[in-house]
């Protein structure tokens, strides 16, 4: 069975290839069959392989397809590597991907670029699978850039709008900044280890470096740069909110469930480097903590449904980074999985709402949808509950609770991380339920056009179930103590070690977290259902702050001023190429010489005679002097 591993990334690529070659000739009903079908098959293969893997020894499995490049010891192969970490990722990618493909089959049915959409989506899934299955960093970089490309293509899918194209380019360029950092990290790694094979690096790192080695820190920070770009973390987070210009399934698949977590995968995959570079790891945590706060507060002020979700995605990935930063690798991956379920669900549900309301994005023009769209309401509510980490019943609670606990109790954790995470948890539940109450409660402001079909609602229901039940495979010590997930990952990722004597306080942290989450829900209920006028009052009293948060803390403006404007200025002023002016100078001076000498040819014979005479005198005198 394991030998079929190559089929998992290959199937979506084959699907894309068929769509590219025959897309325009296929009927509209066949396009999703190819598109979703190929990903579905990949999911099936994943299931088979996963079953075999879990029932077996769980030993990593490597499959060499061919040697990609071979020069002088630099030998990246096209080879796939399956272990429990990549298994989690391919499972999430293929399954969530398949559900989103199903959803898109209906969501995009009216669109003229139907087959183009599925082509890009398939390409994306293929690249993402390549990213997580790669056995070396160059191949991972291929997937890494491939998903960036697909993200670009899909954000700018509705290319007729100028602003979509802008958002797409912004996403690609900003992530490329991170990618470049990562590429430089790869150069350093290659110079240090002479290979870019991931397992070789991980095992070599311990032998090569002391803890805190400068090279390790530098490489860690560079890889972090790559992760930050792709995962939309501080300071490269600005592309993600704009990326919401793409169709909703894209936001769900790429910008919530899978691609943006590539950074988390990278750091978890290269954990050994970060373990040896405490400074780099600390920065992972700091960036995570700052990001989750900043984007949490930004989400509070947004009124575009998808932008709220975008900021909440940034914020949730901040949690994952925080977990990675304190060394709770498996908690980060656990949160990734649960987040993929509920965030895909939220985006798909939001997409359905927007779709059914004729592309209305503003939550304040929605309202009262609870009765009109019951299925969407209930599934959205489940997703939102998970996002807000409502205690005990949601998957999000169990995954986030772990992170909160380790942020404090982990050996590398500290109280500041805990405070940030707690504040973030409160803000999360506040903005989540603000969104829920404003969208689904109150009076109906926009008429619902039509209803969602089965293809759209089925994925919602499945995801709702997954995001609830998924939490129960890993329960904390205080309740049940189930460790299916972290046991699964223990073969790959190191377990976190706790500080001395903190075990007893775990329930306190859990209690506070639960309390904060419920308080957030209540405050949201109070502000947006019971007394909406108080919201206005608060808003006007802190208008400047509101504006600041609304603009995403002014990052766009700063970058515009620091990078975009100078670059454009440089490009524009030098359009005609100043170097060419130097050559023009040569041309002009030649012209002057030409005119100067032409002037001596006056046509008056006597002048020529004078010239001859003077010349003769000069020659004679000079020769007399020098000889």
């Amino acid at each position: 069975m394991k030998e079929l591993l190559w089929l998992i990334p290959a199937l979506p690529f084959i699907g894309a290839l068929i769509l590219i070659l025959a897309g325009s000739r296929l009927s509209r009903s066949l396009v999703p069959v190819v598109g979703a079908g190929s990903v579905g098959l990949a999911a099936l293969v994943t299931l088979l392989i996963g079953f075999e893997f879990l029932s077996g020894t769980r030993a990593p499995f490597e499959q060499l397809l061919w040697t990609w490049i071979e020069v002088d010891g630099f030998k990246p192969e096209v080879a796939l590597y399956l272990d429990s970490l990549s298994l989690v990722f391919i499972f999430v990618i293929t399954f969530v991907g398949f559900l989103i493909h199903l959803y898109s089959a209906e969501f995009m049915r009216e669109d003229e670029g139907y087959s183009r959409f599925f082509t890009f989506l398939n390409l994306f899934v293929g690249s993402m699978l390549m990213l997580v299955l790669a056995n070396n960093l160059v191949l991972m970089y291929l997937g890494w850039e491939g998903v960036g490309l697909c993200s670009y293509l899909l954000i700018g899918f509705w290319y007729k709008e100028e602003k979509n194209g802008y958002a797409a380019r912004k996403a690609f360029i900003i992530t490329r900044v991170g990618d470049t950092a990562m590429a430089i990290g790869l150069f350093m790694l290659f110079r240090t280890f002479g290979t870019l094979d991931i397992q070789a690096i991980l095992s070599g790192a311990q032998d090569t470096w002391q803890v805190g080695s400068q090279t390790a820190v530098a490489i860690g920070l560079l890889l972090l740069g790559g992760a930050v770009g792709k995962s939309a973390q501080l300071p490269l987070q600005t592309w993600l909110p704009d990326a919401m210009a793409g169709p909703s399934p894209v936001s769900a698949l790429i910008h919530a469930a899978t691609m943006v977590t590539a950074g988390v995968y990278l750091i978890a995959r290269m954990y050994a480097i970060f373990e040896l570079a405490p400074l780099a790891q600390l920065w992972v945590g700091i960036i995570g903590a700052l990001t989750l706060l900043i984007s949490g507060f930004t989400a509070l002020t947004q009124y575009d449904l998808k932008r709220i979700l975008a900021y909440s995605t940034i914020s949730q990935i901040g949690y994952m980074f925080l977990a990675l930063g304190v060394g709770a690798f498996s908690s980060a991956i656990f949160h990734f999985m649960i987040h993929a379920f509920f965030k895909a669900l939220l985006f798909l549900a939001a997409g359905a709402v927007i779709h059914l309301l004729h592309h209305e994005h503003d939550i304040f023009r929605m309202g009262g949808l609870r009765k009109k769209l019951p299925v969407i309401y209930w599934t959205f509510l489940i997703g939102a509950a998970s996002l807000a980490a409502l205690p005990l019943i949601t998957g999000g609670f169990y995954s986030k609770d772990q992170i909160l606990w380790y942020a404090y109790a982990g050996e590398k954790g500290n109280i500041w991380f805990l405070v940030a995470a707690m504040t973030g948890a409160f803000v999360t539940s506040l903005y989540t339920f603000r969104m829920v109450f404003v969208t689904f409660f109150g009076t109906e402001k926009t008429h619902v056009g039509h209803h969602a079909g089965t293809l759209m609602t089925l994925p919602l229901v499945v995801l709702a179930i997954l995001s609830t039940l998924g939490g129960f495979i890993e329960l904390p010590h205080t309740m049940g103590h189930v460790q299916l997930f972290s046991d699964h990952l223990s073969t790959v990722l190191p377990a976190i070690s706790l500080k001395e004597g903190v075990e007893s306080s775990e329930w306190i942290v859990q209690l506070i977290a639960a309390g904060l989450s419920l308080t957030g829900v209540y405050i949201a209920y109070f502000l947006y259902v019971q007394s909406p006028q108080s919201v206005e009052r608060i808003k006007t009293s802190v208008n400047a702050l509101h504006q600041f948060w609304f603009s995403g803390w002014g990052f766009d403006a700063v970058y515009d001023f620091l990078f975009v404007k100078p670059f454009l200025w440089m490009a524009r002023t030098n359009k005609a190429d100043v170097v060419d002016k130097a050559y023009d100078g040569v041309v002009v001076s030649t012209g002057y010489f030409h005119r100067g000498f032409a002037w001596t040819q006056s046509g008056i014979m006597r002048w020529y005679m004078v010239g001859i005479v003077i010349g003769t005198i000069l020659v004679v005198t000079l020769s007399l002097i020098y000889y």
Binding site: W599, S602, G603, I604, M605, R606
Partner: protein, 102 residues
């Protein structure tokens, strides 16, 4: 036989040459310019003769014969050109022939 000092001959040649040169430069009439060139040629010839006499060599006189023939050829070509110029421009002013101005 009275001999004339070499210096006197050379000075005369020099004076003649300068006269010729100056009148080439200041005269605008092409005929006069041609005549002045003839004077310069003859001045050069005189210088050769003087030098030949000084060293008692025939070369000076040989050179003078050369100059004579050359002058003859030059005058014939020159006069032909002058005629053409007059024919074309209806004037003998050399400054009028400035069509080749750069």
């Amino acid at each position: 036989m009275n001999t004339i000092a070499v210096e006197s001959g050379l000075i005369l040649a020099g004076v003649l040459f300068m006269l010729g040169l100056i009148s080439v430069l200041v005269r605008r009439n092409i005929i006069f310019m041609l005549i002045s060139v003839e004077i310069m040629l003859n001045a050069a010839g005189l210088a050769f003769i003087t030098a030949g006499a000084k060293w008692v060599q025939p070369d000076g006189q040989v050179m003078f014969v050369f100059i004579l023939t050359m002058a003859a050829a030059e005058v014939s070509v020159g006069l032909a050109l002058i005629l053409q110029i007059y024919h074309q421009l209806k004037t003998l002013d050399s400054d009028a022939a400035n069509k080749m101005k750069g």
